[in-house]
C-alpha cells in the first residue's frame, strides 16, 4: 500500500479537525481501515463506519469490484472544549525515507529514546507500526508481541 495515500489521509483528517467537521470520509482500503481502528482504540476518533460517498451505510452493503470506487470509511471526529482530540497526525516513514526497525530498535524507541532522526515518543503520542505480517499495531503492542516493522505515523 502506498504511503502517499496514508500521507493524504493524515492531511485530510487534520484538515477536517481544523474545520471542526463531525465526520470525515476516507477511501476504503485495508491500510486506512487499520489506521482508523488504531485511532479508535486509542480514543482519537469516536466511530468507524463503512459507507458510500453519500454517507454511512444504514444497512450492510457488500464491497464488490463494481462498487469499490464509491465505498468510503466514515470516521467520527472528537472534540473537547472546542479543541480537536486528534490534532496531529504525521507520517514517520516516507516513500523516499522508509523507517524499518528491528524488535530491539522498537524496544529502544518505545523506552522513550530517540532513534535515528525520529524524536522520542511523547507521553500523549501514539505511534503506529506496520509489522512484517502486514498488521498495523500500536508501538507498545508491537514490542509486546516482539515484532519488527515499519513506523507508519504518529498521532497526538
Amino acid at each position: 500500500m502506498s504511503l502517499v495515500n496514508l500521507a493524504n489521509l493524515c492531511c485530510h483528517l487534520q484538515n477536517c479537525t481544523m474545520a471542526r467537521l463531525p465526520l470525515a470520509k476516507v477511501p476504503y482500503t485495508r491500510l486506512h481501515l487499520q489506521i482508523a481502528l488504531g485511532l479508535y482504540k486509542e480514543g482519537f476518533i469516536s466511530s468507524v463506519q463503512r459507507g458510500s460517498i453519500n454517507g454511512p451505510d444504514i444497512t450492510a452493503v457488500d464491497v464488490t469490484p463494481d462498487n469499490i470506487s464509491t465505498r468510503r470509511l466514515w470516521l467520527g471526529l472528537k472534540y473537547r472544549n472546542n479543541k480537536p482530540v486528534l490534532s496531529n497526525l504525521h507520517l514517520i516513514s516516507k516513500p523516499n525515507r522508509r523507517v524499518k526497525l528491528t524488535n530491539e530498535e522498537l524496544k529502544h524507541f518505545a523506552s522513550g529514546n530517540r532513534i535515528r532522526f525520529i524524536p522520542p515518543v511523547k507521553p500523549d503520542e501514539v505511534v503506529f507500526v506496520r509489522t512484517d505480517k502486514n498488521e498495523v499495531l500500536n508501538l507498545f503492542e508491537a514490542v509486546k508481541k516482539s515484532r519488527e516493522g515499519e513506523l507508519l505515523c504518529r498521532a497526538s
Binding site: R30, L37, Y40, V48, R50, T64, P65, S146, R147
Partner: protein, 320 residues
C-alpha cells in the same frame, strides 16, 4: 615513526591489540552444511577450490601445547640442576614457568569460550521463550469486547471476489457491448458504401458519359434555372414553384432512397424479409377490404331490392 610506544608519541599505557589465542576451533563443532552450495547452479567454481565448505581443522589445546611448548627431551634430576651453572639453571626454570603459564592461559581461554558458548545458548533459549510468549499473547478482555466488529473485515479479502457466474455474466456483457460497437461501425460503413454505390451510377466512367454530363451541365435549361435562382430574392424563395429535382428528392426521402437508389435500410429490410412481410400484410388487408366492400355492396343491393319490393307491394295494395 618508530616502533611500539613510539608510534603513539612515546606514550605508555597503550595496550597492544588483543589477538585470538585459538585461531582454529579448539573442539569439534557440530556444523553440517549442505553440499554443493556457495555457487549458483551452472556457475563454474575457480580451479583448485571446492563447492563444499571446508571447516578448519580442530586443533585442541593439548595438541597446541605439545607443538609449541613440548616437554624437554631430557629431564634433569634435582641433583643435576644443583650442580649446573646459574645461567643454565635460570634457563631451565624460565622454560618451565613459561610452559606452565602457557598451559594456564590455554585453559583459561577454553574456560572463557565455554562460558561464552553457554551464555549464548542461554540467551537464545530466552529469546525463543520470549518469542513463544509473544506468539501466545492474546487480546485483553477489554479490547476484545470494545473493539467494533468492523475489525473482522480485515481478516478476509476486503473486496468480495466475483463468483464464477458473475464472471461469466460480465464476460457476456462485455462481449455483447463489443459486438454492438462493431455492428454500429459496420452499419455506418455499409450505409456509406450504399451511398457510394448509388452515386456511382452518375459517375462519368466512359468518354461518352462524360460528354453527356458536360453538355447537360452547360445546357440552356440548366443555365436558365441557375439564373432564375440567382435573380430571386431570398425572401421569396418559399414562393418558388417546385422543381423536378426537389420533388424527386422528396420522393427519395419518403421512400428511403439515397442518390436515386435504395438506401441501406431499404436493402436491409428487403434482405431480412421485412419488406415482403409488409407487402404481404398490405395485400392481405387489401383483399380483406375488397371482400368487405363487396359484401357491403351486396348487402346494400339486397336492402334496396327489399325496399323496392315493399314499395311495389304497397302500391299494389293501394290500387286494390
Amino acid at each position: 615513526m618508530g616502533k611500539g610506544a613510539l608510534k603513539f608519541g612515546g606514550k605508555s599505557g597503550i595496550l597492544p591489540k588483543p589477538r585470538q589465542i585459538f585461531k582454529q576451533p579448539y573442539k569439534h563443532q557440530v556444523y553440517v552444511k549442505a553440499e554443493d552450495t556457495g555457487y549458483v547452479d551452472g556457475i563454474i567454481h575457480p580451479k583448485g577450490t571446492t563447492r563444499n565448505l571446508i571447516r578448519p581443522k580442530v586443533f585442541t589445546p593439548e595438541q597446541r601445547l605439545k607443538k609449541t611448548a613440548a616437554k624437554p627431551k631430557k629431564l634433569y634430576s634435582r641433583e643435576d640442576v644443583d650442580h649446573m651453572p646459574e645461567a643454565q639453571r635460570f634457563k631451565i626454570k624460565n622454560a618451565e614457568i613459561r610452559r606452565q603459564f602457557l598451559k594456564e592461559s590455554y585453559e583459561g581461554e577454553v574456560k572463557r569460550l565455554e562460558k561464552r558458548e553457554e551464555y549464548q545458548k542461554k540467551m537464545s533459549g530466552e529469546r525463543k521463550k520470549i518469542a513463544e510468549e509473544a506468539q501466545r499473547l492474546e487480546k485483553s478482555k477489554a479490547e476484545l469486547y470494545t473493539v467494533p466488529t468492523v475489525e473482522s473485515y480485515l481478516e478476509g479479502p476486503l473486496i468480495k471476489p466475483r463468483s464464477e457466474e458473475d464472471k461469466e455474466a460480465l464476460k457476456l456483457k462485455r462481449k455483447a457491448n463489443r459486438l454492438a460497437q462493431e455492428m454500429k461501425v459496420k452499419e455506418e460503413r455499409s450505409i456509406k458504401l450504399m451511398e457510394l454505390y448509388n452515386a456511382s451510377s452518375d459517375f462519368a466512367i466512359t468518354e461518352s458519359k462524360l460528354h453527356l454530363l458536360v453538355d447537360e451541365a452547360f445546357s440552356e435549361r440548366k443555365l436558365k434555372e441557375i439564373n432564375k435562382l440567382l435573380n430571386i430574392s431570398p425572401d421569396r424563395l418559399g414562393t418558388m414553384p417546385t422543381t423536378i429535382d426537389f420533388e424527386s428528392s422528396l420522393k427519395d426521402i419518403i421512400l428511403g432512397n439515397v442518390n436515386k437508389g435504395p438506401s441501406y435500410e431499404v436493402v436491409q429490410d428487403t434482405m431480412s424479409g421485412f419488406n415482403d412481410e409488409v407487402h404481404d400484410t398490405a395485400e392481405k388487408f387489401q383483399r380483406e377490404k375488397k371482400l368487405q366492400m363487396k359484401q357491403e355492396a351486396e348487402k346494400k343491393q339486397k336492402k334496396l331490392q327489399e325496399l323496392q319490393n315493399e314499395m311495389l307491394k304497397d302500391r299494389e295494395a293501394k290500387q286494390q
